[in-house]
Subunit: 307 residues, 2 copies
């Protein structure tokens, strides 16, 4: 079944120990769409400026992504610059130029309204809420957020969290959102805010999914998927969004949302994140094959499974 | 088959958010022995002072640990004080009184010399080397070390590493020992120093074992075991030594040292570490049952295994 992602399309300028790139295609919705496109049909709602050229759109179209929801505004596309020179695990932002993204008002094309799966990438929680309310037939909503909204717009975020079924955030965000250092207790506090499941991304250590009791089946045991030890991380940008794309894309491809599907989805999230960081920007995500993805899924399995 | 551990016995004074304890039985050899005692026969070589009473020795003896290798010296037992009030993942040392441990010269009782498995807990690398050379019939040697020796006695440590088959250290120590930030590259550099396998302990994220190519079987794929998300870590002291005890104890119990055994051992290491932190000091490790251990092993499996 198809999935709709709402989020940013951007041009990134990135410096890592492996090199520097300027104004390459990026943004959460871009990484998410490309990663999810290997599993299911993807529709995207975003806004770009006059500098977003057919060659940029072609990156998405080649992967079969439905780009009719990408709106054009006068002005320049969102630009971000950052570096990972000291620490590959955390970006140091050099500049953020919101440009057309500053006034982003997601407009859902009529033909997208029946999309059964939805991912609300990291944008203002009020916009996330508005999109979700417009998509009233959606079967499962995934969402992302960040420290900026957790601190800056807690009331708006609280409303969003009531509508998000699966929240995907990192350790620091989980602890900040819960006001609790212990990860298990923090996860349970976040689940009490609305989501039925919480995916906590641990960077190079993988990710854990926590379930609200009896959500998606019986029990409340968490589940953990690994990340792949990689000898050279060329560019960590977009790893989290690629993870989300693999995770949500796999779920959408299965239709039914059981615990077993969510567990496998966690593995596929790790798989897509591991591909993303092997090259700068979206390069690696543009030219994968399903065989490569299945091959790496098996590597992840060997990495953690006994017998 | 039996295992010999050489390391510290200590009295610890510990403050954590859950409370404070004074002069409780601790030390790497103590935690290791108790954890390993659920899997196999354990022999211990250590030194204690006049304040080490029969009631302390009884803690080990009740678990069947052979304590004939614990030497008595005039003076006080090694004492350590630390706290985890700000950060449960890292101890802040309040004081270290080496006492009789300062002049520790491990003396291996004659009847221990044929012990097939050996664990060199975190002591001066020259002492580790001396013990290993004395135990010339040993089948597998595990070892630990720390930043203090990596920085302070690199030449002595290099000699030790040539004799250690499986090294168990944490992420920071691995990167420091290799002089390399990327974990996979750092692990490969450490393996080039001597060990056939390297276990990197990630604290709350579990542990990864890296293999030298074709050591213990074919291939060079790493393997990762989880840690259990725990809602209250009462006292992290001894978690790493308990991990080592579960890991090495399980290997010794199996006799043969294959990759499959090492993978399962990694799970049992995590299991014993997870028990250790549930109570202050060695309390939880004193009264476990094999059923509880197998039960938690299954929880670890559920936490990571698909299907």
């Amino acid at each position: 079944m198809s999935i709709l992602v709402v989020g940013s399309v951007a041009f990134d300028t990135i410096a890592t120990p492996s090199g520097t790139v300027k104004d390459i295609l990026g943004g959460a919705a871009t990484y998410f769409s490309l990663a999810a496109s290997y599993f299911t049909d993807v529709r995207v709602v975003a806004v770009v400026g006059e500098d977003f050229l057919p060659e940029h759109e072609a990156v998405l179209k080649k992967r079969g992504v439905d780009t009719r929801g990408i709106g054009r505004s006068a002005g320049k596309t969102f630009r971000w610059g950052g570096q990972y020179l000291d620490n590959l695990n955390e970006a140091k932002t050099d500049f953020t130029e919101l440009n057309v993204f500053e006034k982003f008002q997601p407009r859902i094309p009529r033909e997208y309204l029946d999309t059964p799966f939805l991912f609300l990438a990291n944008i203002h929680p009020s916009l996330q809420t508005a999109v979700r309310l417009e998509m009233d037939g959606v079967r499962l909503t995934g969402g992302d957020t960040m420290n900026f909204w957790i601190k800056g717009t807690p009331k708006e975020l609280a409303e969003t969290l009531k509508l998000v079924n699966v929240l995907l955030i990192n350790d620091t965000e989980t602890r900040m959102l819960a006001g609790e250092k212990n990860l298990l207790r923090a996860a349970n506090k976040v689940l009490a805010l609305g989501p039925k499941a919480l995916v906590v991304k641990h960077g190079e250590y993988g990710a854990t999914i926590f379930f609200r009791e009896d959500a998606f089946g019986a029990g409340s045991h968490p589940f953990r998927a690994p990340a792949l030890p990689i000898d050279e991380v060329k560019d960590p940008t977009g790893a989290g969004d690629s993870f989300a794309g693999g995770f949500m894309g796999y779920i959408a491809s299965q239709g039914e949302v059981s615990r077993e599907v969510l567990k496998r989805a966690l593995f596929y999230g790790g798989v897509m994140g591991s591909f993303a960081v092997e090259r700068f920007g979206t390069e690696r995500l543009q030219n994968l094959t399903r065989d490569e993805i299945e091959g790496r899924f098996q590597v992840f399995r060997q990495l953690t499974h006994l017998d």
